[in-house]
């Protein structure tokens, strides 16, 4: 279980408070107006930003002081998720071990995962030789083999068209179900949230609210969400 206990963080005059829990294996959407702090919330969990108070824990272990690389957390950013000078295989292999010295069994795991996400035979391509959807698949394959139980996705498919985005969301859902990943995915589209996440965290007015049932949230949105959705 991922817990944010009494977390407060400041960036200049901007403050965000969070007191919430995400159960293991859940896929949770994070929604809210631009600039409300959705990415900031993910940065705290990933370890790029230190909160001024409070703790972030995973299964009772305090993560607050750990550097990003030592946390049980994978991240997919809005862009620059792949190293352009490395092959598809190498980009995925980095998820297992940064030194990229893999055992045979681990290499086989990378290959199997690439096949699983539909990138069979593209192991030696560079990212520039792939389509946008294929690049997303590489990033997803990496977090699936990484063995880190939490995945943070910060509007990862914003650059893709609707059909491709839906396809990727479905792949995220499948991979999460297969590997037991706990997923937090930032989106600005209620439709995306409904598609993938049973529960949704609303970030608005300086507060990241505990996850609530997605369908219920959009049926009866609180005022801040109502203003954002324009309904």
């Amino acid at each position: 279980m991922l817990r944010l206990e009494n977390v407060t963080l400041c960036q200049g005059t901007f403050t965000l408070r969070a007191e919430l829990e995400v159960p293991s294996g859940a896929v949770v959407a994070v929604i809210g107006p631009s600039g409300a702090g959705k990415s900031t919330l993910l940065s705290v969990i990933a370890g790029f930003l230190a909160p001024i108070s409070g703790r972030v824990t995973w299964d009772g272990e305090d993560l607050t002081r750990l550097p990003p690389g030592a946390r049980p957390v994978s991240v997919i950013f809005q862009d620059n998720n792949l190293f352009p000078h490395l092959s598809v295989f190498q980009n995925v292999a980095l998820g297992i071990r940064p030194s990229m010295r893999l055992s045979r069994e681990e290499e086989a795991r990378v290959r199997a995962m690439l096949a699983r996400v539909g990138l069979d035979g593209l192991e030696n391509r560079r990212p520039a030789q792939l389509s946008g959807g294929q690049q997303s698949r590489v990033a997803l394959a990496r977090i699936a083999v990484a063995g880190r139980p939490v995945a943070l996705l910060d509007e990862p498919f914003a650059a893709l068209g609707p059909a491709l985005r839906h396809e990727m969301l479905a792949l995220v859902a499948e991979l999460a179900a297969e590997t037991g990943l706990t997923v937090l995915i930032v989106t600005h589209d209620p439709e995306d949230a409904r598609r993938i996440a049973q529960r949704t965290i609303l970030v608005a007015d300086g507060i990241a609210a505990p996850p609530v049932d997605t369908a219920a949230l959009f049926t009866d949105p609180p005022p801040a969400l109502r203003a954002y959705l324009g309904t």
């Binding site: 790029f48 690389g69 030592a70 991240v75 620059n80 000078h85 190498q90 980095l94 940064p98 520039a128």
Partner: protein, 514 residues
């Protein structure tokens, strides 16, 4: 994170090489009272020629840059690329070229001879100035052209729709730009000219045309007066440091700079006689800059086959020194760059260490190393390693300037991803940073190899003739009036300098993924 230790070690090595040698020199230096009238003349000449060279280079560069900025013609891109070449052109080759055109037996004197006029004389005060303008006019032109191209195209379009006369364009657009660009360009050239050694050695000399650098060399080799050489070194550092501090405030060029061949559409470009004048200016500048080099090549290609074996051996030594210097410069710059990047805000405190070599001079470092080495070893035996070390220190600022932006970009684009993957130390270096640094590192290696290849400086202090590098061998051939062999050696030197640059720069681009 990348470990800090190698960077700290590199910073200490650079500081030792620059500040350390300075301390050694200061301890050995004799009182200011030892400065004779000749030395004061050298100080005066250094300042006067640097000021005059800078002023003339900039004054001539303004019309050339203006013509290049507002005219389109075939070969414009090539010409602008060539304006970057003098940076890696060996000074001694340039001198030989100027002799071929402006020398007593040069092309100009021959033409004058047809009209019964006496030949021109290129040695002495005006020869030094001529060579400095030849070497720095391209740099000044590029810097000022950069200023012209930085004026937004919309302003010129506006000027055209308002029907402004050239005089109004000058007053409203061009003069404000020149006011901000010209002082920086002039200062940079002044700084370069204050450490002039090879030009003064070959074209200057005597009481009226000796620079402080040359005076250090003479105190060394003619008088073997270490105390005086050390004293003159302190004077040299004082001059350089003052100029460097002032120049640092102004815009210092980022070496070659790309994108200058871009052309802004200029609807306001005046027609008629001004068009012809622009053409004449460009043609004259191109002729002034290209003819000397073409003359050397024409003279030298024939002599290349008959070069004495000693020249080829010197070429071999030079290539070895150049490769060592380039490797050393990168070995110092890379950990320094990583340390500066890692230090974040505090990187600004470390970066100046790399630029210390600008505030000192090759002969000063050489003098310091000589004083250090003399009691424990034979400096002459160490001439080549010392030359490589000093060359590496001199090219360090350029190497660092090439690496830093790429390093910052790599961290900005992929640093967080690497952090989240736990890529630290060697893994980060191997799989994130080094691949992103390949192109600038190739460029930087090429640059420092070419600079070292063509350098005639500290090696003249140390080396005995049997251990000469190619530039020194070329100088000796000139001294012996073997001008054919000298031209041949110059072609060889030019080819090797440009070749080394090309090979490394190319190597950095080859197979480099975007």
């Amino acid at each position: 994170m990348i470990r800090a230790l190698p960077g700290v070690a590199a910073a200490l090595a650079v500081a030792g090489l620059t500040l350390g040698t300075l301390v050694v020199v200061a301890l050995r230096a004799e009182g200011v009272a030892r400065l004779g009238p000749g030395d004061w003349a050298a100080i005066r000449f250094t300042l006067v020629q640097a000021a005059l060279s800078a002023g003339l280079s900039v004054a001539l560069a303004i019309p050339v840059a203006r013509a290049l900025a507002r005219r389109r013609f075939a070969g414009r891109g090539v010409l602008i690329t060539l304006l970057g070449a003098p940076f890696i052109l060996p000074v001694i080759v340039a001198v030989l070229g100027l002799l071929a055109i402006f020398g007593r037996n040069g092309a100009l004197s021959s033409v004058l001879g047809w009209f019964g006029l006496p030949p021109v004389q290129v040695y002495g005060f005006h020869g030094v100035i001529l060579a400095h303008v030849f070497l720095n006019l391209p740099l000044a032109t590029r810097l000022i052209l950069q200023g012209w191209l930085a004026i937004p195209a919309e302003r010129f379009r506006l000027a055209a729709t308002l029907g402004l006369a050239p005089r109004d364009v000058r007053r409203l657009l061009e003069r404000p730009m020149l006011r901000s660009v010209v002082p920086g360009a002039a200062l940079v050239i002044f700084l370069i000219c204050t450490t002039s050694f090879a030009v003064a050695l070959t074209l200057g000399g005597g009481p009226r045309a000796t620079t402080v650098e040359l005076a250090i060399y003479q105190a060394f080799t003619l008088e073997f007066d270490l105390g005086k050489a050390a004293l003159l070194s302190l004077v040299q550092v004082a001059i350089c440091a003052c100029a460097a501090v002032i120049a640092l405030g102004a815009a210092v060029p980022a070496g070659f700079g790309a994108g200058l061949d871009r052309m802004i559409a200029r609807w306001d470009a005046p027609r008629g006689w001004r068009r012809l004048a622009d053409g004449a200016i460009i043609a004259a500048a191109a002729a002034f800059l290209l003819l000397p080099i073409l003359a050397v090549i024409a003279d030298g290609l024939m002599a290349l086959g008959g070069l004495p074996a000693g020249v080829w051996k010197a070429a071999g030594r030079s290539v070895l020194v150049a490769l060592t210097a380039a490797a050393l410069a990168l070995a110092l710059a890379l950990p320094l760059a990583l340390l500066i990047q890692r230090a974040g805000r505090f990187g600004g405190l470390i970066e100046p260490v790399a630029y210390l070599s600008i505030a000192t001079s090759p002969l000063v470092i050489g003098t310091g190393l000589f004083i250090l080495l003399f009691p424990v070893a034979n400096p002459v035996a160490l001439a080549l390693p010392v030359t490589a070390v000093v060359n590496a220190a001199m090219s360090l600022p350029f190497v660092l300037r090439a690496l830093m932006p790429a390093l910052r970009d790599a961290e900005a684009a992929h640093g967080r991803l690497a952090d989240s993957l736990g890529m630290t130390g060697w893994a980060r270096l191997r799989y994130l940073l080094l691949p992103r640094l390949r192109r600038p590192a190739g460029f930087a290696l090429g640059l420092s190899a070419a600079l070292s290849m063509g350098d005639l400086g500290v090696v003249a202090l140390f080396a005995d003739p049997a251990q000469a590098t190619l530039p020194l061998a070329l100088y000796q051939l000139m001294g012996a009036y073997r001008m054919d062999d000298a031209a041949g050696a110059a072609v060889l030197l030019l080819g090797l300098s440009l070749g080394l640059f090309w090979v490394f720069d190319r190597g950095g681009r080859l197979n480099a993924a975007a």
